[in-house]
Symmetry: C2
Subunit: 114 residues, 2 copies
């Protein structure tokens, strides 16, 4: 299905963001490029662990790696972030239109009772 692709991507983005270390990596990577080992020095875990986090972020499209000599620079990708926000907005829209519906019904009742 076509819808599935989007669904899986949404799954990945939200899952990637559901971890404080990964959110922090995204934050740093959006502010500028950082090598994997430079990132690793910021957290109380092994380089391999951070590598895995970066890999999760990469598969979610939140981050891109760019080779530069022996190091791999991680750069944040704002587009994936915007996509995630739009998914939230679509949910919110459901709520908003329900409220509007209720408002209309109330308005009608007001009208017919006077």
């Amino acid at each position: 299905m076509v819808v599935d692709q989007h669904r899986v991507r949404t799954d990945r983005v939200f899952h990637a963001l559901a971890d404080p270390t990964r959110r922090d990596i995204v934050r740093r990577a959006l502010g500028g490029e950082h090598s994997v080992s430079a990132l690793a020095r910021a957290y109380p875990m092994s380089v391999a662990a951070v590598q895995k986090h970066v890999s999760v972020l990469e598969r979610a499209g939140l981050v891109t790696k760019i080779r530069s000599g022996r190091e791999q620079l991680v750069r944040g990708n704002v587009k994936a972030l915007v996509e995630a926000r739009r998914a939230l907005d679509r949910l919110e829209e459901v709520w908003r239109s329900r409220i509007e519906r209720i408002g209309e019904i109330l308005a009608e009742e007001e009208g017919s009772s006077r």
Copy 2:
């Protein structure tokens, strides 16, 4: 820590949203109240499984259960959704201010080279 609470809540919200069934439950619950078993009929899984999903959403604050006789009505909670969006916005802001910084530097160079 104070920060921890917010971090954990953010973790929970994003984790809760990282599943298509749960996003769909939130969608329905934002549109109106549904009992757990009514929700369960919409998915190819057991009632117990849906109960667990609802429970995850509830702990994330995305949904509230309201007893009504023998059934438990699930209602979407837009506030948690807004919180999640704000977390995304804060990330995006990091990117935005970097771009601005770059813009300023470019503008300066333009100025000094003419």
